[in-house]
């Protein structure tokens, strides 16, 4: 890869102190919540469920199909097991990869198992997720504790997960891969969530999550570029150098309202910032309309904007110009808008054999991405654009999801 780890310095910022305060107080808060176990009604586990899921993502030069199976079964009134198997098949490559490398084919297989145990008003969840690609392996154990309180008007959730990734790079071809393993990354996540019944028609929620990363955090398939008068294109490329650490904080507030004619409207807002200087804002609006207990129609709008990371630039002035440098489109300033619709059809209302009911769902979304400091540097032929004057990159993606859910 050629990354120079000698440049890397651990970052210690106010977000880290927030993280330290959170970790110090979380156990106390957990004990306080656990001490508050009411006597009225115990939590109940949701119905047994099996889903078969198919998805397709198409946009930005990439075509990804996903197939998944999920089964959740209660073994008693207090204990349930959920298993999920997911396969992503990727073909194509995003624009910055296309400008530098050959087309990629890959497959990601993700398996997860979740155990849920309910005791009175407390729900304990333990899960383990493994995700494998040829050049990327990830393991995530996760623990969450959820507590109902105040006459079941309030639910508090505490979560903890720890992800260990092994990051590699395919230096061969799509069909004959040669994987060079570059390093490890570890990620730890702490989250605290509160869901609150506000009125008989309104429910609100707040989630706070801190994630810290340590290790190899760069994307090996993306390169930084710098001005180079000696090059025919006017620029050359070099390996990116990222910091070895990252800490992010996100806060999301949301509310859902039951409308007088049996429909629901929801709004959510998330604020994100990290020690790399990325600040993101996400707003989402959602409307759900059931029809005659057979159909459920849902419309969705999502607006996302982010500023670029401090060490991001589309074009650096010269090679090795600063300690950290990146030209990864995910770290560029961008806005994207999602518009989506979902139709759910309910069938077998009276059940059939072991099944109580079933639903079939079609979900279609379109996302328009616009970057304000990431340029499309694909080969335009003659005349060529001067470096830094290429058109800004934008693309749209279509996402299709079809799934069948059986409840038993």
């Amino acid at each position: 890869m050629g990354t120079t780890s000698a440049h890397r310095q651990p970052l210690r910022t106010p977000a880290f102190t927030a993280f330290a305060a959170f970790t110090a107080l979380a156990p106390l808060a957990a004990l306080a919540f656990l001490a508050w176990a009411g006597a009225a009604r115990a939590d109940v586990l949701p119905d047994n469920r099996a889903d078969i899921f198919y998805s397709r993502y198409s946009g930005g030069g990439m075509d990804i199909t996903g197939e998944s199976v999920l089964v959740r079964e209660k073994f008693s009134d207090t204990f349930a097991v959920e298993a999920n198997y997911f396969v992503d098949k990727v073909s194509g490559a995003s624009v910055d990869v296309l400008s530098q490398a050959s087309v990629i084919k890959d497959e990601r297989i993700q398996k997860s198992v979740t155990l849920t145990y309910v005791h009175d008003k407390t729900t304990y969840t333990v899960s383990y997720t493994e995700s494998r690609e040829r050049d990327y392996i990830s393991y995530t154990p996760h623990f969450a504790l959820s507590q109902d309180m105040f006459g079941d008007l309030t639910t508090v959730t505490l979560g903890y997960s720890r992800t260990r990734d092994t990051v590699g790079e395919n230096n061969g071809t799509a069909d004959v891969p040669i994987i060079e393993w570059l390093g490890h990354a570890e990620s730890i996540s702490y989250d605290l969530g509160i869901s609150q019944v506000i009125t008989r028609n309104l429910i609100g929620g707040l989630t706070y999550e801190v994630i810290t990363d340590d290790g190899y955090l760069a994307n090996p398939y993306r390169l930084a570029r710098y001005l180079d008068p000696l090059s025919g294109k006017g620029y050359s490329t070099e390996s990116q150098v990222y910091p070895d650490t990252r800490t992010s904080t996100s806060v999301e507030g949301r509310a859902k309202y039951y409308l007088p004619y049996r429909a629901a409207a929801s709004v959510s807002y998330r604020y994100f910032r990290d020690t790399w200087g990325v600040i993101g804002n996400t707003t989402e609006l959602d409307y759900t309309q059931p029809i005659a207990n057979v159909w459920i129609l849902e419309g969705r709008l999502r607006f996302y904007s982010q500023g670029h990371a401090r060490f991001y630039s589309d074009l650096f002035p010269y090679a090795d110009s600063q300690n950290f440098y990146a030209r990864d489109q995910d770290l560029a300033a961008q806005k994207n808008t999602t518009i989506g619709g979902k139709v759910t059809y309910a069938f077998l209302p009276d059940g059939w054999k072991v099944f109580k009911r079933g639903t079939a769902t079609l979900d279609v979304s379109r996302i328009d991405f616009k970057y304000s400091d990431f340029r499309d540097i694909r080969d335009y032929g003659v005349p060529q654009y001067a470096p830094g004057e290429e058109p800004l990159y934008s693309f749209n993606a279509m996402i299709y999801q079809i799934y069948l859910s059986m409840f038993f």
Binding site: T17, A21, L28, A29, A32, W36, G66, S68, L70, V90, V97, I104, D106, Q110, S112, T129, E130, S131, Y136, Y139, T140, H142, G151, L153, G159, D165, S189, D191, V197, R200, N201, I203, G205, T207, E209, I211, S250, V251, E252, K256, Y258, R262, A263, A264, R270, F272, W276, V278, G280, T282, P290, Q306, A309, Q329, D330, N336, T361, I399, Q401, Y403
Partner: protein
């Protein structure tokens, strides 16, 4: 930093002190609307997890949505 600690402390005190005093203002028999499946935050977990992955692989932001999982989405 001190402000943040103070905020956490006030939240913790609020939660603990509230345990004894607050009565549920929405009674169980008034929660039929909230119990309607259209009012759940996440009706289809398999779909939400997928969309979270799609977004996280293309945006700098992450977290805050309650999702856990792995994978790169590098290409």
């Amino acid at each position: 930093m001190r402000k943040l600690r103070l905020l956490y402390l006030l939240c913790a005190i609020g939660v603990v002190s509230a345990c004894g005093g607050i009565q549920p203002w929405v009674k169980p028999y008034e929660r039929d609307h909230l119990a309607d499946p259209i009012m759940t935050w996440d009706r289809d977990a398999i779909s939400s997890a997928y969309m979270d992955h799609v977004q996280e692989a293309r945006e700098g932001s992450r977290g805050g949505t309650g999702a856990a999982g792995g994978g790169c989405g590098c290409n």
